[in-house]
Each structure stands twice: as C-alpha cells, then as structure tokens.
C-alpha cells in the first residue's frame, strides 16, 4: 500500500507532469512545436541571471499568499481574502516607506511590520464575524476584497499622492532592493523579499508543527467539537488564524510595495496574487515547504511564459492553460489516487 505521505508528494508531481503533457498536446494540435515552446519557457525562467531574478521576484509574493491560505486552511478556514489583504499590506508598507525618515535597519522592518498588522487587521474582521456571529468567512473575505480595492485606490489618490494614479516613491531607506543584488541578477527587479518569504515559511512550519499555538489551531481545524471539549477556545483560535493568515498576505503586499515597485498604483481590478495563492496552497498540500515549491513553480511558469511568443511563437495564455490543468489534477487528486491504486493492484 502507498503511504499517505508518499501520496501527498506524488499527487502534486504527477499533476505538474500532466499539466505539461496536456500543454504539449495543445501546442501540437495548434501547430506549435512543444519542444521549442518548453525550451523557451525554461530559458525564460532560468536561462540567465536576469530571468532567474525575475522568477524569484515573481515567486516571492506567491509564497506569502500561499502561506496565508495554507495557514488558514490548516485551521479549518478558507481565506479568500488574501487578495484584499495584499492591497492593504501594500498600501500600508508604502505609506510607512514614504512618511518616515529612519535608518534602513529600522525603516524596512517597520514598514513590513505595519504591513503585516494591516493585513492582519483585514483578516481579523472576517475572523471576528465568524467567531462571534457565525458568518461564513468566504462571504466576508470576498466583500473585504472589494473594500480593500477601493480603499487603497482612494488612499493613493488622496493620501499618498495629489490626485495621481500612483503614489510617491518610497524612501531609499525603506527599499528591499539593493544595487549589488540588482547587478548580480542582470538588472532584474529581484529584491531581498525572497529571503523574508523563506524565513516566514520556516516560521509558519515552526508555529504550526512545534508550538502549542499550532497544536490548538490544527485541532480546531480538524475537529472543533473535540477542541472545545478539551478546553481550547474555538473562537479565539478562529480569530487568531485569520489574523496570522492576513498578516502573511499583508507582507506579500509589502513585497510589491517595498521591493518590486517601490510605490503603489491604483488598480482597476485585482492583482490575482491572492487568488493564485489558493492554487499555490492547494498544490503545496497546505504545507509551508509545499507552498514555497509551488510558488517557485508558478513564478517560473509566469515569468518564462513571457519568452514563449518571441522565441517559439506560442501565446503566453498557454501557460495559463498549463497552470489550470495542474490545478485541475491536484483538485481531482482522487482520480490520481484511484489510478495509482489500480496500477499497484495490476502489479500483483
């Protein structure tokens, strides 16, 4: 019999392979050369230091939104609100970046901290409503996403600029970029945020698996009744899970504000970082390490896709199909499980 741990590793791997195969079939049937297409994709993601830097840059916020969703999910909650929490974290980080004059060692951490608090607050509201009123977090977080979008746009126009579409730039002391790093990675937009994301992934793993806080959160996620029976406060844990999940997503916003862009601009619609985070968490089986790996994969696919039209003539949308197929297979892991078991039986 396959152990469940092996399943948890096999399912995402097989899903990714299936995604790539289906992508190849689609390329073939539309008359493109799939080998050329994937070579272009690979080179576009890892071909030189510039592309590698871009892949890292793209993966950074995805790791964090992935962690956000995975963390909530392990506590039995579905955080659709990462999208809005990203906006709030972004605007908060940029606000700190613009309005304070501090040395770098204080300015950057302060901006990230405020972003996490802001994102945490955005998660706290649905957490509070769920805990005290039983309102489903999915509904509230979706509404919070709209509010976040419009609140940040208002902030940019009225607080962070004078009626402009972009905020002022953050001070140099609040930036996550550094000249050395930029130069090393061929003048890509890479920044130190990747390290922060990795540290936070480690933090999430430690918190969930090694502490009494994680023990409670997971117990509540698995079985609320047993958690209540054994003296844990289900309400407090729901709120805490949403705050921490929101904080992760808030830091994802800070990565965009302090690293990639250095400012914030008005958005007509969502960044999709939060929604892609759902896919990341799903592919990563809601674990910290899984989210990191899945985020790097999606980051590479998205960045590499940009090289497919010029080099292989394949439209970038193909990568969206590949990602969709991967998600489809992960979500229908039941099918893979079934096939594997059949396969195993056939052997005997």
């Amino acid at each position: 019999m396959f152990s469940s741990r092996l399943f948890n590793i096999l399912i995402p791997v097989i899903s990714v392979v299936m995604g790539l195969i289906v992508g190849a079939i689609i390329m073939l049937s539309f008359g493109y050369n799939p080998i050329e297409g994937y070579v272009a994709l690979w080179n576009g993601a890892f071909g030189n230091m510039y592309f590698l830097g871009e892949t890292i840059r793209q993966s950074t916020p995805l790791i964090l939104t992935g962690l956000s969703i995975a963390f909530a999910f392990r506590s039995g909650l579905f955080n659709i609100g990462a999208e809005g929490q990203v906006f709030i974290g972004w605007v908060a980080a940029v606000w700190v970046g613009i309005n304070f004059d501090l040395p770098l060692v204080i300015h950057v951490p302060l901006a990230i901290l405020i972003a996490s608090l802001a994102g945490g607050f955005w998660g706290f509201i649905p957490g509070l409503l769920k805990a005290t009123r039983g309102v489903h977090e999915v509904i509230v977080t979706i509404m919070m996403n709209y509010i976040a979008l419009h609140v940040t746009n208002y902030m940019i126009r009225n607080v962070l600029s004078e009626n402009g579409d972009t905020s002022e730039r953050i001070k140099e002391t609040a930036s996550l970029r550094s000249d050395g790093l930029t130069e090393l990675f061929g003048y890509s937009q890479v920044h130190w945020g990747f390290i922060i994301a990795l540290i936070l992934a480690l933090f999430m793993w430690f918190l969930l698996e090694k502490t009494t806080i994680g023990y409670e959160l997971r117990a509540v996620g698995y079985n609320k009744h047993a958690a209540h029976y054994s003296g844990m406060s289900v309400k407090r844990n729901i709120m805490m899970a949403m705050i921490i999940a929101g904080a992760f997503a808030g830091v994802a916003g800070a990565m965009e504000g302090l690293g990639t862009f250095g400012y914030m601009y008005t958005h007509a619609s969502y960044t999709n970082l939060g929604f892609d985070g759902i896919a990341v968490a799903l592919l990563g089986a809601n674990t910290a390490i899984g989210s990191v790996l899945a985020a790097i994969l999606f980051g590479a696919l998205k960045v590499g896709a940009l090289r497919m039209p010029p080099l292989a003539g394949v439209p970038t949308e193909l990568v969206d199909i590949v990602i969709a197929v991967i998600i489809f297979f992960v979500a229908s892991s039941y099918i893979i499980r079934w096939v594997l078991l059949r396969f195993k039986k056939g052997e005997r």
């Binding site: 019999m1 502490t211 009494t212 023990y215 997971r218 029976y229 003296g231």
Partner: protein
C-alpha cells in the same frame, strides 16, 4: 451438503507495522445469523472491510455462492449481493432518508431526472416487508440513532443485498432499540437473507446467532455452534483466559460531598428545557450511576457540568466552589475529567496521532510544553506509558487515532481521563464498544479511582453496568432525578419502572 453463501478462506491482511488478519476462515450459511467475535483490535472490522471490498487481502480466497471472486471495491460487493452497515454510519446529514438510501443508485425517469416518488414508494414497501420503520421524507439529522441504523440496513436491501454485514450495530443503541433490531434481524433471515453480526455483547450472540466465529489478535480461532456453547466459553475463547462478569468490589466509604448540583435547569440546542430543576450530590469515594432512558436530559446534564453547555439557572458546586458556567478549560483545571459519550465528535482529534490525543487537555502544561514549545519527547513518553498501562492496541503511539480500532480509541480516551485522577470523574457510556476483557478492566479502574477517594459519576444505558459498578443509582426521568436507590436493594424490573417514570410515590421521598 453445506450451502455456503460466502466463504472467506485463509485471509491475511497487513497494515504498516501490524498483521490485522492472518489465516482466518469464515463460512456463512444461507439464512443464518453468524456472529464474529473478538477482542478490540482483533481484526473484525478489517475482515469485514475485506469482504466488502474496501481492503484487498494479501492472501486468501473469497467465494460467493461457491464461485471464487475478487472483490476489488464496494461496487463489486454490491453486485455480489453483499451489503455492510459500518461501525460508524455513513449518511449525509442534510439529505432525507429516501435520498440517502438511493444515493449512488438513483432510479431515474426520462433517463436523467431522479424519480424520488418511485424511490419513496419502493422504500416504503421494503420497510413494511421487513418491519424497518422509517420515514422516507425525514432528514437524517432529525432522526434517532436507531432509525439512522435502519436507514443503513434499508440502503443495503435497496441495493439487493442478500448478505448483510452489521459491524457493532448494538453498541450505539438503547436497550429498546436493540430489541427492535433483533426482531428485524429475525425477519430478515426468514426472507432468506444471511447476516454477519459483530458484537461484544455475548448475551446477544446467545440470543440470536446460529454460529459464531472467533478471532484473537488477528488469528482465526474457530467456529462454534451457539446452541452448544455458553457465555463463559465464548469469552474465554476470545480472550484466551477466563473472565469474571461480576465486578468484585468492597463497600464504598463515602466522605465529603464533591459534586453538588442544585436546582439545575439546562436547555438543549433547540431551546427545549431538558434538565428541569435537578438535584444531585456525589461524595468522595462513591460511584453514582445515572440510570435512565436516553433523551431524559442526561447529555444536557453532563454537558452543563463540564462547561460545554450553558446553565440556565441553578448551581453546580465542586468541593464547595462554584463550577456553574465556567469554561471547559476551567472545569478541567478544577479537577473534573470527562469520558464523553461520542468519542469521534468530542473525544478525539482523529487526524492527530494517538500519542498527541493523550495530551489533549494538558498539552500546554509542563512537561509537555515549555514557553509554548511542545516537547514531543515528553508527550510520547507519557503516551507510551499510558498505552502500555491501559492495553491500547496500536502499532505505535504515532499512529493516527483514525487507524485504531473503535474499542482501542475508547481505551485511549479512558486512559487519558482516568490518568489525570481528577476529583470528579464523569464517565458516559465508558464501555461502549469494548470487549468483555476491556470492560472488566475499565470497571476495575473506576472502582480504583473510587477507592482513592475520588467521586465518580457514571452514565450508562446498560442496566447491568449500572447495577454492577455503582454504589448508588440515581434514576433520571424527564430532566429530574426521580429516585435514588442502592443496587443491592433493587432489581432491573424496578429500575425499568422507575426509568419509565412510574412509581411517583418513590420519587416523593427523595
């Protein structure tokens, strides 16, 4: 000459780290009720899951009506006419009875539309034929456990089963419901249906079964004709030693009052008052058994004491300190332990390893954690000790609670609660689903706690257990204690009457 409908020959089934079945033979005759007996974790559910196609055996042969078959999944089992009612039901709570029964084999009209009318008619017909009273239109969450079980049985009949496996069907039923189930089984075999019955209650085997196959620690021991055996022989076959059914104990030495419940009023989830001005005292060094028909407020009383349900009015005192409406954590810390009635809902986090379930109330204390960091070393050390002491059979303390047999899950909960040696130990149906050896062991533990000077509150629907273990019996009816009697001074008939609410005269002099 023998006309076997199902034969399982030399079956072997392994799980990581454990051989759950080895060399087991079971031959089922047409129209018989065949008992499957064995200790907790002996491998009964596993064997039946093999027959039902949920597990694939490593070795052995299965024959149905003489033909060798490979049962690769439950659909194959259904096609072969084998149906199973699991130890823990598998019904969709928000669906109606009829919807649950047809789920997966829905009758359709015009090729696509589910014909619920037709299904309901068929179900009514089936239920009349076998005396399985159900209301096809009721939602599962609104009906009693007994009726849910009848729905499960109907589900198998609806799929055309002529072999029905019942995995510990009586463990969750009240005595009245058990009588009803026995009648149903008798009606089923009259129609030529064959039944495999798993139960730990030897009396039931003696009453309804034709033959009994015994397994011990995964090994097949043999099959006996029930008419040629007796309860003691069955018990020693299954455990491998003699078992005493009457619990020995010294007379109680009651001391100061530990738990005092005064004029308690509690409502249930639908806001109906279930505990109506109840008074009860339990002293250190005594076991008080609450006897009563299910649904007379016992659950609400226990939940109120343990902080799981709000007290509307009245007072609960523990060692003269108020306990009313404290949080479950505060209640636990004041010295109350609680073996809950529903082990899957309250007692365990099934996806946690059994070892981590053993510190479910104490994980935040030293030595299991320090500065909020868990010490898995200390947790597992403690868990291993309890697993050993209470004979919880598990491949390892790191095995998920879900993978333990039902009875061993229960033993783990009991180990956890009794080990804290609290001032007040509340045990609700503590031996539900346990084998006779384990029951003996648990009863001994309860008496040991009493002898250490703890107060024990026992709630059980089994009068045997109440009569055997308690020092004092409090009869609960309609949300009140209507009588308090000594077990030596009463009998099952009198208790039965009191529990039914008659004999009001006696209630007056409490």
């Amino acid at each position: 000459m023998d006309n076997y409908v199902v034969e399982m020959l030399n079956i072997r089934k392994e799980f990581p780290g454990i051989v759950a079945n080895n060399n087991i033979n079971l031959q089922l005759r047409k129209g018989e009720i065949h008992a499957l007996l064995g200790e907790n974790g002996a491998g009964k559910s596993t064997l039946m899951n093999v027959l039902f196609g949920l597990y694939q055996p490593e070795k052995g042969e299965i024959r149905v009506k003489g033909k060798p078959v490979k049962i690769t999944d439950p659909n194959v089992a259904n096609r072969l006419g084998i149906g199973m009612v699991h130890q823990h039901f598998m019904l969709v709570e928000t669906f109606t009875v009829a919807q649950n029964i047809i789920l997966g084999s829905e009758p359709t009209k015009a090729g696509a539309i589910v014909d619920l009318k037709k299904a309901e008619a068929e179900i009514t017909e089936l239920s009349e034929r076998y005396g399985l009273r159900v209301d096809p239109k009721a939602k599962i969450r609104d009906i009693s456990v007994g009726m849910q079980q009848r729905v499960e049985i109907l589900k198998t009949l609806y799929r055309g089963a002529d072999v029905i496996i019942l995995d510990e069907p009586t463990a969750v039923l009240t005595p009245q419901e058990i009588k009803e189930l026995i009648n149903i089984m008798k009606a089923l075999i009259k129609e030529g249906i064959s039944i495999i019955l798993i139960t730990h209650k030897l009396k039931e085997i003696m009453e309804v079964c034709d033959r009994c196959t015994v397994i011990r620690k995964g090994e097949g021991i043999g099959t006996v004709n029930v008419s040629e055996t007796n309860v003691d022989e069955l018990a020693s076959l299954m455990v491998g030693r003699d078992i005493s059914f009457k619990t020995d104990k010294q007379a109680a030495n009651p001391e100061a009052v530990v738990l005092s419940v005064k004029n308690l009023e509690v409502k249930d989830a639908r806001a109906a008052t279930m505990v109506k001005g109840l008074n009860l005292d339990i002293r250190a060094g005594e076991i008080v058994g609450i006897a009563g028909v299910d649904g007379n407020g016992q659950s609400e009383l226990i939940e109120a004491i343990t902080g799981l349900r709000k007290v509307e009015s009245g007072e609960i005192l523990l060692n003269n300190k108020p306990l009313t409406n404290l949080s479950p954590r505060k209640v636990t810390e004041s010295g109350v332990a609680h073996i809950p009635q529903d082990r899957h809902k309250f007692g365990l986090v099934l996806d946690y390893p059994i070892g981590e379930n053993i510190v479910l109330q104490t994980y935040y204390q030293k030595p299991y954690s320090k500065y909020k960091i868990l010490s898995f070393k200390n947790i597992y050390q403690h868990a291993s000790k309890l697993i050993e002491e209470y004979d919880v059979r598990t491949p390892s303390p790191r095995t998920k609670a879900r993978a333990l047999s039902g009875g061993n899950q229960q033993k783990a909960i009991i180990a956890r609660e009794v080990d804290r040696s609290p001032d007040l130990l509340i045990a609700v149906q503590p031996t539900r689903g346990l084998d006779v050896g384990a029951i003996e062991n648990i009863h001994k533990r309860l008496i040991e706690e009493r002898d250490k000077g703890r107060a024990v509150l026992l709630v059980s629907f089994e009068l045997d257990e109440i009569m055997n273990v308690s020092d004092k019996i409090a009869v609960m009816f309609d949300g009140k204690i209507v009588a308090e009697v000594k077990p030596e001074e009463t009998n099952e008939q009198e208790l039965g009457l009191l529990m039914a609410g008659s004999n009001k005269a006696k209630a007056g002099d409490v």
